[in-house]
Amino acid sequence: MSLEGESFELREIQRLEGHTDRVWSVAWKPSTGVDGVPAVLASCSGDKTVRIWEKSPSTGSFQCKAVLDETHTRTVRSCAWSPSGKNIATASFDATTAIWENVGDEYECVSTLEGHENEVKSVSWNASGSLLATCGRDKSVWIWEVLPGNEFECVSVLQGHTQDVKMVQWHPHVDILFSCSYDNSIKVWLEDGDDDWHCVQTLTEANNGHTSTVWALSFNASGDKMVTCSDDLSLKIWGVDVMNTKSGEGYAPWKHICSISGYHDRTIFSVDWSSEGIIATGAADDAIRLFVENKDNLVDEPMYKLLLKKDKAHEMDVNSVQWSPEGDKLLASASDDGTIKIWELVSV
């Protein structure tokens, strides 16, 4: 898609109301919103519930199809669909991660993962859906193997971060796990030959990394770049030369490519890189910003420019932004104001 020489607008399509407390996170169900399958979005909240929203084929508007409640006893901080879309995992401040199975319009809690000492902050499935990672305030990152019959087995408990771990995210193509933390670092975890996992890289201030809490991270479509966002008001772009870790060539380290600073003046809580290359951020100034690679720039290093800033996208902090997976330029955002908004990127 060419973004050159055009003007864009982030147009509010719909405002989803129903949660009775702040909304922490949203997640689009994979393989929906395409081929006649209606788009499905999950949201989770301080009201201890998860809501499932589906786009009506007739009206084109999103409706709440299910409320996943009476399982978590505290805030549900994050949610993630399995790649098949059959399951959704929810991470809660009640120290558990719940696994829900979707049959028709029904969602049943089929497993509860215990082990974290206290608040679970984030959950992520690997590309094949065979592994699940969680992280939390107890500074640990856990890896679970998904077994038949909704069984989960703990494969590893990783202690490397020195503070609250805010987010875990699997690489989109290979089984490498990334985590980011209140300790200002991003850690990269890889399985060793002996059925256990270990940290192969830590990206810190010393690597041109962040100087405050790293809240979130996201990958570009090809998986050779990663963007991270932080309380230090910057985004950092990281790149890897070759994705050869699977071919036994050893681990290829991630390197800092550039920083995107000067655009945010409050904490950046969320970042998401769309399949078409647009980076969206959600921040504590209630705004959503979009960045794209600046192709005019002819210096060696790629630079990124602000495509647009949507002021007052919400009435309060924007906690989560997520692009729909099917390239239809839909963006979902979640806020402390208790609402979710669906946006469409349109040229004007």
């Binding site: 305030r137 640990s140 703990c154 494969v155 059925d195 256990d196 902090d317």
Partner: protein, 473 residues
């Protein structure tokens, strides 16, 4: 918290230092006039609150003294304050008790012996003799061996297992039945985690038998002291252990009545520090005769003990159960099969194509999580679990001597495993003459009232305090 504790204790811990974000509850209680920070933490969501550096450290108002006992009773962190631990159970304290004229008695663990043997390139027997020389030169009265008291723990564990197994099979539908699987109780990291985090559902599974450390304590202070003509209150009993968590075990209230069984725990690494601080050439040190009163050494000066470098609980109980319950005498090493990884291994007994016994070794936090999950969901197929908090078990304890430069942890563990059984004659604990003697003159028989009084203990779920739950980081 200190890296020195087992990983299991560290996961149970909330903070690396007593920071206000996840403050020490004990200090908050002590400084009740400074609890404003608590009420702040009680607010709806502090997920997005500012950095910890902005807040006031509890120590800045008034220093708070926290003892290890406070930490054990608390559901918050374990404590990072190494000084808290080292104050009461340190080399300085050890030396000062010798100087004070206390009757200092040492009990040496076989894992520590192996660690020092690998370090100095000696045999475990040589290390035992040289350490006896070394400690006695400092004024220590006797140097004993916890593989001796471990045989007593093992016999009581065998007896407890058979009792549980038969109770489960009996038609008598009493509520008081103790459940299977029975879980070993020798690892203090595991016990602490079970009490603080897992709580009441798991505790009935844990064997009530005291660990070899506490068993040798009770034997020394309640029985052997008479043979030695010493008064229990004059004895300062120090154990040498592969593990820092043992220091926490020693201060449990259950092990301090009527007398303190273990006054101090030194790790293998601390003993090495002591040897080096005295500028002793350990390799050339003279070898003294051993204190055979409580040591697994036969007349020909051969060490003896059981298979299994983490105490041999699964191995010993499996053999005993096979013999007593099914009439099968097993000779030679048992075949433990790795299930997921080398730290999760099982052994089973088949009779007529049917599996009648299935035991497992389960070391390290991740494997522990999976068996605990199975027990909670009622899907655990084992009758006995030897759980140890550390990967590779006790030889890899946090108190052991670290690998030499260029040596991997894996290589060191392999050397330790080999060294551990070097010159050790494998012997059935029931044939240990010292333990037979203790039963004959003191404890009657396994599982007796006296054995229960002296060699068994209880576990207590730690109730989560409100203050520890208020923190909503």
């Amino acid at each position: 918290m200190s890296e020195k504790f087992s990983a299991t204790l560290r996961i149970g811990d909330l903070n690396d230092y007593i920071a206000p974000s996840q403050g020490c509850v004990v200090s908050l209680k002590a400084n009740s006039n400074s609890t404003s920070s608590t009420s702040k933490l009680g607010k709806s969501s502090s997920e997005k609150l500012g950095r910890p550096g902005h807040a006031v450290k509890s120590g800045e108002t008034e220093p708070v003294k926290i003892s290890l006992k406070d930490c054990l009773a608390c559901s918050g962190c374990i404590t990072s304050a190494e000084t808290v631990m080292l104050e009461k159970q340190s080399l300085d304290e050890f030396l000062s008790n010798i100087n004070k004229g206390k009757d200092v008695v040492i009990s040496l663990s076989p894992q520590s012996r192996a660690s020092l043997a690998v370090y100095f390139g000696l045999s475990p027997l040589q290390v035992f003799r040289k350490l006896t020389t070394f400690f006695k030169s400092l004024g220590v009265k006797a140097v004993f061996d916890t593989s001796c008291s471990r045989d007593l723990s093992l016999i009581e564990s065998c007896n407890e297992f058979i009792t549980r197994y038969k109770e489960q099979r009996s038609t008598n539908d009493q509520q008081s039945k103790l459940p299977l699987p029975m879980i070993s109780s020798a690892c203090p990291g595991w016990i602490c985690y079970a009490e603080k985090t897992l709580g009441s559902y798991i505790l009935p599974h844990i064997s009530s038998v005291k660990s070899p450390q506490q068993t040798i304590g009770t034997v020394i202070k309640n029985n052997i002291c008479q043979t030695l003509s010493l008064r229990p209150e004059d004895i300062y009993h120090v154990t040498v252990m592969p593990c820092y968590d043992k220091k926490l075990e020693a201060v449990r209230d259950d092990f301090n009545y009527p007398v303190t069984e273990v006054d101090s725990v030194l790790t293998t690494g601390e003993v090495l520090d002591l040897i080096q601080s005295k500028s002793v050439d350990f390799g050339t040190l003279e070898e003294s005769p051993l204190d055979k009163l409580l040591a697994n050494v036969d007349e020909d000066d051969h060490l003896f003990g059981v298979y299994g470098s983490s105490g041999g609980y699964a191995d010993t109980i499996f053999r005993y159960a096979a013999k007593v319950l099914f009439g099968k005498e097993i000779v030679g090493p048992l075949e433990f099969k790795a299930i997921r990884n080398s730290d999760f291994r099982e052994v089973s007994l088949e009779i007529g194509g049917e599996t009648v016994l299935k035991f497992a070794l389960c070391y390290g936090f991740r494997n522990l999580q999976n068996v605990v999950r199975k027990i909670k969901s009622g899907k655990c197929e084992y009758q006995f679990l030897e759980i140890m908090a550390c990967p590779s078990g006790c030889l890899n304890g946090g108190g052991q001597i670290k690998p030499k430069r260029g040596e991997s942890v894996k290589e060191l563990i392999q050397s330790l495993e080999a060294k551990y059984m070097e010159d050790v004659v494998v012997t059935d604990p029931f044939k240990n003459p010292i333990i037979k003697g203790l039963y004959a003159e003191w404890l009657d028989q396994p599982g007796s009232e006296k054995a229960k009084k002296f060699v068994h203990t209880k576990y207590h779920p730690v109730v989560k305090s409100i203050t520890s739950q208020l923190q909503n980081w």
